[in-house]
Symmetry: C2
Subunit: 464 residues, 2 copies
């Protein structure tokens, strides 16, 4: 397609965003015989997944894991002929609380660290309660739950404060929450957390590795699966093509970009909510959807991968998994693969520390990451053979990661707008997923759902 060729830019459907949601949506629409264009603002596909070369390894600096139950993503990996590796978990995990003396790191095994007997009991009861309440939520309509308004009127911190009286339990919970939601407990709606649990098989699955959301990684990096999804798009895919404004009338949709104007009968937008908030639409999007977008910041995370000559922590009986309430690099996993190439640790600056680190120089962040790793794993961690990071907080086309971090008062009142089409404009993206929201699997689910919406709408129009 020549973008400047007026007639060539007429399509049945234009999909905005070439992440997993947009690519899956486009492939399904093309399977149905429709003429589709995919417009992507970045110079690459993959959205919030991204891989980089680090020494002789290809590492994920964006969405990385396939979780238990992520059936669409597993099928995609199989179809693409990808090799999957189970997340390395053998060995002890590390934990550091804010009250721990500098240099003190606790070793533990299993899902819940044994901070103290009281803390363990409190945490087990709290997680059980969380899952029980999540069980009252239909992930297709969390706003319709009987207690939705009540749960959405409090923060996760307000809930945890009453459930977790011991400081150790509270800190372990906060660490886990920050790792899962990339948000602070005091800023997040309790309903949003329950919805996340309901959509993702419960709190343990969210925090778990081989039995949960961090089960497998993809050889060559997660974006290889995006490339496979996009393999037949050819010039239906337009990179470096940010949507500047969108007009719709009875004839359909016009999408204006620096590369020209596309016309379509239907459009599917997969943008994160903060980008939707700034989008120039004529007519304007409905007031409630605009407010949903304006009130829905993303979570905060900076991801880094650090390479070493070998996986030295394994020799110390450590799995590479580490969590901290005090260090900025607060969530770490082993990422050594292939092992012949040496060792690697992958980790995250999650939540408020990510906002603090976001404007520092990459060198300063590297220093902060290495200092964290030295506290966890000892002086050897200070001598890496390579370092790479991606700052998702300042990424202009993500505005944060992994997903939306809704504050109180948004999901109950405005959540029903998430998937509500606005005229001929449909919405996809992992934030709009019913099942597996926040994950790549949710992005795929949302893309399929949006494609089906469009197919029904165009059939209805043809029948009319």
């Amino acid at each position: 397609m020549n973008a400047m060729d007026g007639d060539g830019m007429d399509r049945d459907v234009v999909v905005v965003g070439a992440g997993f949601a947009g690519l899956r949506c486009a492939s399904r629409l093309r399977e149905a015989g429709l003429r589709v264009a995919v417009l992507e603002a970045r110079e690459r596909i993959g959205g919030r997944t991204r891989s980089e070369t680090l020494g002789r390894m290809t590492v994920d600096v964006g969405g990385q894991w396939i979780g238990r139950g992520h059936e669409r993503l597993l099928a995609l990996a199989e179809a693409a002929g990808a090799t999957l590796r189970p997340q390395h978990v053998e060995g002890a995990k590390l934990l550091q609380l804010s009250t721990d003396a500098p240099g003190r790191v606790r070793r533990y095994r299993g899902l819940i660290p044994r901070v103290s007997p009281l803390a363990l009991v409190e945490l087990e009861l709290a997680i059980r309660k969380l899952n029980r309440l999540a069980g009252e939520i239909d992930p297709a309509a969390p706003w319709a739950a009987r207690h939705a308004a009540e749960w959405d009127a409090k923060t996760v911190a307000s809930w945890a404060q009453r459930r977790l009286r011991s400081r150790g339990a509270r800190e372990v919970f906060d660490i886990a929450l920050r790792a899962v939601m990339t948000a602070e407990p005091g800023a997040l709606s309790f309903l949003q957390l329950l919805f996340y649990c309901a959509s993702n098989d419960g709190f343990e699955a969210l925090t778990g590795t081989t039995d949960g959301a961090q089960a497998w990684v993809v050889e060559g990096g997660m974006p290889t699966l995006a490339q496979w999804l996009a393999r037949d798009l050819g010039d239906a895919l337009q990179l470096d093509c940010p949507l500047q404004s969108l007009e719709q009338d009875a004839d359909g949709v016009r999408l204006h970009t620096p590369q020209g104007c596309w016309r379509a009968r239907r459009a599917v937008l997969t943008l994160p909510l903060p980008l939707l908030a700034g989008l120039d639409c004529r007519p304007a999007l409905p007031a409630r959807r605009q407010r949903l977008a304006a009130a829905s910041p993303m979570g905060s995370v900076i991801k880094a991968v650090v390479a070493y000559p070998d996986a030295f922590w394994r020799k110390q009986g450590l799995s590479g998994e580490a969590l901290s309430h005090r260090l900025p690099f607060n969530t770490v996993f082993d990422a050594s693969w292939p092992e012949a190439e040496g060792g690697a640790l992958v980790g995250f600056i999650d939540g408020a520390p990510a906002l603090e680190q976001a404007d520092r120089s990459p060198e300063e962040r590297r220093q902060a990451v290495l200092e964290s790793l030295i506290e966890y794993f000892g002086p050897q961690a200070g001598e890496p053979s390579g370092y790479i990071e991606h700052n998702w907080v300042t990424d202009p086309w993500a505005r944060g990661c992994y997903t939306v971090a809704m504050p109180p008062g948004v999901l109950s009142g405005l959540g029903a707008e998430l998937r509500q089409p606005a005229g001929a404009v449909h919405f996809a993206g992992t934030e709009t997923a019913r099942r597996w929201t926040g994950y790549i699997e949710g992005a795929l689910e949302s893309g399929e759902r949006a494609a089906d919406e469009v197919l029904v709408a165009l059939q209805d129009a043809a029948a009319a």
Copy 2:
């Protein structure tokens, strides 16, 4: 100034926004001898104030009242030779709770409705507590209060739920909160409410009329004072001139608009936070400021004025003031002036009902407003001689009113960014005010503060 004349567009300072903050900032900078341009996106000045003609009356459909202690605004009114009228308050007020039978309206006098003896005691204690906690806050730095993180981790609803056990007390509090903050208690940070009280002389003053924030109105409408502030701007004022992008480097700031590019040594942005969130800045604004903007929706309000042949409610011993927990037109005052022209009621659809009504047609909203007024004031209210409204929810240059409605986790963590300049870019607007935030008085204070910042910065540059 000819906007297309390249050299003519060089200024010492460009102020973006011709509301009270921008106009006051510009006048102070011009008094200091600087060359200033004011760029305004709308076709009019006045920002979130706006007046319209209704019959032979000029009525405010935006910011309307001067409050006790609003010294800058009172001085401005005096300098402009404006006539002020005390808000009409004689007579009984009306109140309707959600449990009241249709048609039942309670009459009361004084600040707190006597819903029940228990409710009265609870409300008095709660307001006393609120003001005591607000007393611990320095309005110049609410994020620095000793308990800021704790207060910012809960919603106003979480606080009220434990303080106000009787349903009547809780509903009266919710009504007042909705009227003052145009937000729902379940979506608003408790720290934000305390800051608002600290900045505005306490909760009673915020809800009060002649002794509080709704003391006087301006003959001919509040925008006459904006016009007086702008009287000497001449072609330094550019209307219909939305800021599209902003670049800065060592030479200063370039502001791109559909009417051309302005260059300045300094810029002052008075935009509401949701508009800042969508602004294309190079380099990007700091990550924490971007997140502040993305996480700070505005309150929700639609304002309407209804004219009648006479102020018939006064003959029934009513003041015209009415509040409801059930009707969409949930806050009403008398607006009859001059009285020879007949009667008028001014009121608001505040909070969640405003989002629900925002996409309906003006006719549907008019119907909802009249039905509310009939419930309050009887069948005569159904026969108006005129009706006018302004939908601030969908106003593209306001994105809501009166001011920002911060959810939990924003003010404590990111509030310090509100007034923090980003290079040569300074920030004003009532959201950035220390004293009288949310009011026109706060806009004036913020404009003066931003002007002083710019003057110091330019003096420092000259001395260097």
